[in-house]
Subunit: 466 residues, 2 copies
């Protein structure tokens, strides 16, 4: 006889934490590190603040083999978390400020919480968080997570006067890990972050006591990402019903369209109603299910909606991208391209890409090393299932005659209000046709320009010989 059970979100991800990158102790240590780091970067950039992030990882106790218990300390100068949200933000799965339509690293509402939960289940120790939004007080909580209820359990709460007007967040917790296995991924993650975000100051002290310092080499920030309204092509019938229900019932559907959707003005709305043969002055309260279905189907068919605007996005920008790659890899040649905005399913996105040759680019001579990024996050795993990898493998590279005595680095960065990650572990991007197309255009553009450069180098060498 079958036994039926309901799991809370925390129970589900506790049992299936491998879905989020918490597989073995080395990978789990890396995942915990990056999830908290990404939270700190978001907290700074969403406020328009130049990030300063300090991470200290210490080995507290060696277990059997290469496993150990570590203490992770991370501090940022970001937005801080409002006092009433601190415990839920970090102690509850599916609690987030990233559930809006806006570009950010965070998107699922579980990464940071799951890192802390992983620490709890491997060490039994409580978590300490200190945060202030720059106001009168700094708050400190010590808590653990009730996995069964998906709720934080307060152990202690302290409040001190914020005499220096500090703003930011500090998290301290313990977790099992394997630093021997994780170190090169952690260090590469920081290095690749510095390459794409040279405006961030990062200090990292590893368990051996080594300080890795990535200084800020540029003081301009990319634009702050903007929250945007949904696009008519990005919604389904259920979402349309929800949007209608949460709008004033006296609105006409004409007002509803103009107020609810991204880039829909009165002209576009009127064009749509003529196309759909729907009476624009119908009140929302007068809509029945059949009318809503018709509205929805006409939404899908109408070709006149302006495509999502790229203005809401926050690309790195060619100048910053170039600076970062030069700082971290000192290549002999670097070329950056920023594709114009595009969209898929109503979500705007842009591809920024760079090709770097020589210097400290890792890899085989003549080989191409792929560096993948999404919303400024370096993606170090699952290259085989990523769209950029697929595009690169389908390009006939022999048709691009190029220098092959040193490694080539190909940097692909995708920014979007919704990056189509293939799993909650955020390591690979799905091969959405529009994205695949844009990545291919960017790569071919860079390869053509590198072919030109290669020819000029060869001509120069031959001229010198003569």
């Amino acid at each position: 006889v079958e036994s039926y059970q309901e799991l809370s979100p925390s129970e589900f991800f506790y049992r299936n934490k491998q879905l989020a990158g918490f597989t073995n102790p080395a990978r789990s240590l890396y995942t915990a590190f990056r999830e908290l780091f990404e939270n700190s970067m978001d907290a700074c950039e969403l406020m328009g603040v130049l990030p300063q992030i300090i991470i200290i990882l210490r080995e507290i106790k060696r277990l059997s083999g290469v496993r150990g218990i570590y203490k992770l300390y991370i501090q940022d100068n970001g937005s801080g978390i409002p006092e009433r949200h601190i415990l839920n933000a970090l102690g509850k799965i599916f609690y987030s400020s990233k559930y809006v339509i806006r570009q950010s690293r965070g998107t699922f509402g579980l990464g940071g919480t799951l890192a802390l939960l992983y620490g709890q289940i491997t060490t039994g120790r409580p978590i300490k968080v200190v945060s202030s939004i720059g106001g009168r007080y700094i708050y400190q909580y010590i808590f653990s997570i009730d996995i069964n209820k998906n709720e934080p359990i307060i152990h202690s709460k302290k409040r001190v006067l914020n005499k220096l007007g500090w703003r930011g967040t500090i998290i301290e917790f313990y977790l099992e890990g394997n630093y021997i296995g994780a170190s090169r991924y952690i260090i590469n993650y920081l290095k690749y972050t510095a390459a794409i975000s040279p405006y961030a100051e990062i200090l990292y002290v590893d368990p051996f006591g080594t300080l890795y310092y990535f200084p800020r080499t540029i003081t301009m920030l990319p634009p702050i990402p903007k929250e945007t309204k949904p696009h008519p092509h990005g919604i389904d019938l259920e979402m349309l019903k929800i949007l209608i229900k949460s709008s004033p019932p006296e609105w006409t559907i004409r007002e509803f369209l103009v107020n609810t959707f991204h880039r829909v003005g009165y002209n576009t709305a009127d064009k749509f109603f003529r196309f759909a043969r729907i009476y624009p002055a119908t009140r929302l309260s007068e809509l029945n299910d059949d009318l809503i279905k018709r509205l929805y189907n006409k939404f899908r068919e109408f070709g006149g909606f302006r495509s999502p605007s790229g203005d809401v996005l926050s690309p790195i920008g060619e100048k910053i991208f170039r600076e970062g790659i030069i700082k971290e890899f000192h290549p002999e040649y670097v070329d950056v391209v920023s594709r114009p905005p595009s969209s898929y399913s109503g979500y705007p996105f842009r591809i920024e890409a760079a090709l770097a040759y020589g210097g400290d680019i890792p890899g085989e001579p003549g080989g191409i090393t792929l560096f993948r990024y999404a919303n400024k996050i370096p993606l170090l795993f699952d290259e085989g299932s990523d769209v950029s990898s697929k595009v690169l493998n389908n390009i006939n590279l022999s048709s691009y005659k190029r220098l092959s005595d040193k490694p080539i680095g190909l940097f692909i960065h995708i920014v979007s209000t919704k990056v189509p990650f293939k799993s909650v572990g955020k390591e690979a991007i799905a091969d959405i046709p529009e994205i695949e197309h844009e990545v291919e255009l960017a790569i071919r553009f860079l390869l053509r320009r590198f072919t030109k450069y290669s020819r000029s180098v060869v001509r120069r060498i031959e001229a010198r010989k003569r």
Copy 2:
């Protein structure tokens, strides 16, 4: 100022349904099909019943382009769902009978529910389910899903006398799809299922009215998978605390070990306590946090626990596997190997593999076409991120001199009480070292034998020439 929000599980997966395979209309139609089919296969096999599954897919309405509204009808002769669980099982995410430690296709508690939810958000139509566990009544519910609350909403409930003693489940619902895009995947899915489960009778009527009939060609079922206890190497500190809390406090830790864990008898327990220097007669009620931590660390270090038993698993079996491949692909040569049981992190698993040559095996002459299966589910997508693909790519195939005038099919089947899927879409398996090792041994074994067969064929041909 940031706006914090909590999402219910259904809201989260509604927004992120692409994580579960609901990407475009073609892929979504395929995913809905397979999720419901896998529920039906589980319902039959977990009861030891030869499956008979009927699926009818009709196009109700053509939308723009290749998209259409479809009606999916699926019927099985499985266990049925007990009346009080019907609505939650299908109308609530994270409600499941598969949350026990036992091999089954279902594992996450969301696939079928998400398929029905996808239908609801694309068509607005309610869902009909009819089910009986073979008792006095057959129950019919018409319902929809409250996405905000993660709860089913009853539209109507009917109960009729089960005069013929029928047992099983019927689901009828509507969903948007693209059958032109999905058809080859759906038909291959059924074909590959028939290859590995020739004891199942499958009738499928497609939107063109074509009947695909996969008759039963064998009447022996694989063994029913057994539920098992947790293994000491498969639990973390949190799980140990939960297990202790849910045991009678008067138990000694010696009794606790023997009653709670898989394959731990009094001899093993006593060996463990000597190794750990823990007093076996300590009552659970006397344990404090430090003692539990010590118990947990010693669990990890103790090498004397017997590895998980493969008896709880339900492999296909070499005989059935061979029959199925012959029936579906009519190869000239087929060889099957069943590796002995192994385990990872306390979870038992086994690899069954087959190599088939010629006949109707698809692919290029001399090329190897990979057919991947996990717990009897054919995996048709994400080959590039799967462990079997990684293993095959790392094998130097030129060292196996073999016939190359026809395609070769390599079938890899993994059964486990916990298949390490990389995402909730269940299309690729993570490269856990123990699994990677076993897959490699299986593939090399089959290649060696095929090399032998190839040599004998060549010798025969040359003998004939002379």
